[in-house]
Amino acid sequence: MTTTDRSTNYRIIGTRPVRPDGVEKVTGKAQYGADIRLPGLLHGRVLRSPHAHARIVAIDTSEAEKMPGVLAVVTHRDFPAARDVVQEIGESSVNALELSDNVLASRKALYRGHAVAAVAATSVHLAEEALTKIRVEYQVLPPVLDVRDAMREDAPLLSETRFTKELGGARSEKPSNIASHLRFQGGNPDAALEEADVVIEREYRTKMVHQGYIEPHNSTATWNADGTITIWTSTQGAFSVRAQVAEILRHPISSIRVIPMEIGGGFGGKLPIYLDPVAALLSKKSGRPVKVLMNRTDVFEGSGPTSGTWVKVKLGLKDGKISGVKAELAYEAGAYPGSPVGAGSMTMLAPYVIDNFQIDGYDVVLNKPKVAAYRAPGSPAAAFAFEQALDEAARAIGADPLQFRLDNSAREGSRMVTGAPLAKVGHEECVQAILDSPHYKSPIEGPYRGRGVASGYWFNGGMQSSVVAAVNPDGTVNLIEGSTDIGGTRASLAMQLAETLGIRYEDIHATVVDTDSVGHNDVTGGSRTTFASGMAVYQAGMDIRQQMCERAAREWNVPVDKVEYEDGRITWTDGEGTFKETSFAEQARTAAQKGGPIVGKASLSARGVGGAYSTHVVDVEVDPDTGKVTILRYTAAQDVGTAIHPSYVEGQIQGAVAQGVGWALNEEYYFDDEGRMLNSSFLDYRMPTSLDLPMIDTILVEVPNPGHPYGVRGVGEVPIVPPLAAVANAIADATGRRFTELPISPRRVVEELHGLA
């Protein structure tokens, strides 16, 4: 069966059908976690630390427990002792001890908003009132809020027992907020920089920012009389929730059933758990189902944003080529280790061929929320630094910034900083697509207008998927899957199954089911679902085809390897004029008489992940009097492998660019000196609205991934990598000033242009 190189004759792939979940969502009927109603349901609320750094001396919950209508109060004491083990949850990992401590603080509150206790009551208002009756005695400690400050030897320590994991497995002599130090090196960067024609050396900073998903975290749990636990929640991975809850509660994994509700955005922020074990414990204590919801301030203060960063880049050019790079990256991990500094370090140079480099990364804890994954975690801040340094280097030698990138571009066989060679990738194609675009070919004119470009890379993920495809007598197929549908994956998976089976897209009914109802599925993260679950769907489809071919062969009494399946037709010919034919529809209809139900299934750990590149161009106009930056025009080119559903691919790109522009221009966690976030609302956090962005043009570059039957690459993450740098480069072009610190807000621009700071 030819399965690759069919790009010209796909029937379904590349079309734009309506998503199966669309009608329910636009009519408001889709069920989200906050919609859960159960008999006897209690409402839970979480008490959070008002201090960014404090020892918890005592917690007295007695007054709250006495209140009528309050049925349960929990603190960290109610958790079983956690184990010091690490769990992979897709694009990030968690240490169970730290996860447990983050869900409800034990000895110390490590950031403002850190959960310390929770109550369940018969109404939300009673629950809120009960929180005010809980007496927590804090010994307030000085907080450390900046990554560079946290690295100093005299910085307040979050933990006296945390030592730096140094290179080669060594351990620092003294306790430190630097959780780990990593290094990638190759060639001789010092000599290369010494001999360079041009050297650019700069420091860059980005602020902690939040994914900004619309739907706050929520969890409803019942601890059933038989000891089983049922959890309804908003998550990027129901199986991952199950595993994390099992670990924290030390409960058998088979006794936990997680029902994934529809999800109102995640972007990586709904990989870790926050409320699920709390709701479960409250239910255990009260004997009633308990629903716990975060409000927006809880989400900002108590969930997982991405790191603020400090990056130093020293870049050398020789004869128009990047000859050497030395870089240091320090990323804020928040209250516990686990920043994406490793990914930042590995992706920063990935679009280019650079033989001489040394990259040092530091994972640093400080008194801010524990970071979670956010779309290509770690890569945007690294690109913000490196792609700006490249821009300056290109200017220094008078090169076109895109041609310069093309001249230095990585391609198949180029080595990453890890030493791993690249498979077939499409960076050159992306740069060329922007060079050829009407946007780049148009002039950019007028005062305080400028144009910027940048490239980015993301690995994408593989991981485990399981699907079941059950054939119905009417020729339709129930596709049972366990991947949270954030970006239209019910559609993109159904399309791949329809393509494989040669039937109509409308005849596939895709359903995302709970953890009791399908084999293990890793999270929807790492841009992996359309790729890896798509691969499973393909295999399940091939399983069905094989079964149907076998039945036909048996009936016709011919060898099965001579039976062909194409576009839903099953045929055999002896090559001498004898011809037999049946079809998918006929086999479906007659299954009961010919051997029983036909069910295809596949479980796999996906290999053949294809990394993704993206190159963007943006035009801006700066109001020199107010410092306000207006995005005039934006075009993003991306190697998408094969666009299964082009509209959803474009949507991913546009959404990521919107987030990247917000990150570049206005978004930031704004803390006071005591570590209180002062802008923990959508009013003051200032994500862009539809009025702040132009139509974002997309160019889908299709360089099929040889590791996937349909050439799929992950598409959801890489488009957030270039915007930060592209916007900064455009502002530099418009103003003649280089902004190395985010956000490039009106305040920062006007203070810089008028010398006000």
Partner: protein, 291 residues
Amino acid sequence: MEAFEYLAPSSLAEAFTALGNGKRSMMLAGGTDVIVQLRENRRHCDQLIDLKHIPELMSVDIRSDGGLDIGAAVPLADLYNNREIARRWPGLVDSASIIGGTAIQSRASFGGNLCNASPAADSSPSLMVHDARLVVASASGTREVPVEAFFAGPGRSVLQPGEILLRISIPPQPARSAVFYHRFIPRNEMDIAVASAGVRLALDESGERIASARVALGAVGPTPMMVAAAAEAVTGQAPTSETFAKAGEAAAAAAQPITDMRGSMAQRKHLASVLTVRAFERALQRIREAR
């Protein structure tokens, strides 16, 4: 959010009776601030008195003397959807059309926006340069307060317990005059002023000189403020960019902003100047377009 009673009196007399019953009261003249503050436990009350059923607070009167009376609870949308108001008082529409979004504007009122007494309120500078008076009623009668004397600090006004803001009374505006109000926000919607400026510019009969001016700033001090020095700097002068720049300098000098998450002190002082200059330019444009 704590439990409270909701009352909807249909007359002023009923409202005053309710106000006198000894409970902690708050007024609802739209609720787009009050409900949020109660929900977040930033304010507390025993009873919420909805003023939207009292006819006096819901009426608009375009007076025969050229003035305008706006009931304190009239929704903002009713102002900018009124063609005559939109034509004759575009400076009010500048404010009414940017307080919240469309849905908010169907509930929110100038009266509520004033009584919330935010230093960044979008109604205040515009009403101040219109020289608006606030008619305040209590069980014992009414009194008038100029808008610029209404604010006592962030979130505080001179309203006394038992008093209700009844209406906003805008006197006839000078001949050959126009008002313009705007604010600076980092985004293009859904934001609160980093700084704002309203001006009223009146030309003399020749149209060559500035007969009078009023300048008010928002979000650059604990209350919205009139800037007399900016008005003086332009009065009698030709309406040129050089003249307006002087008003801008005076505005920046008068501004007393703080640094917070919405903007810095230096940025706000600078914006006070920029916004004042641009407001003068736009007001001048309005006068010329009206001719």
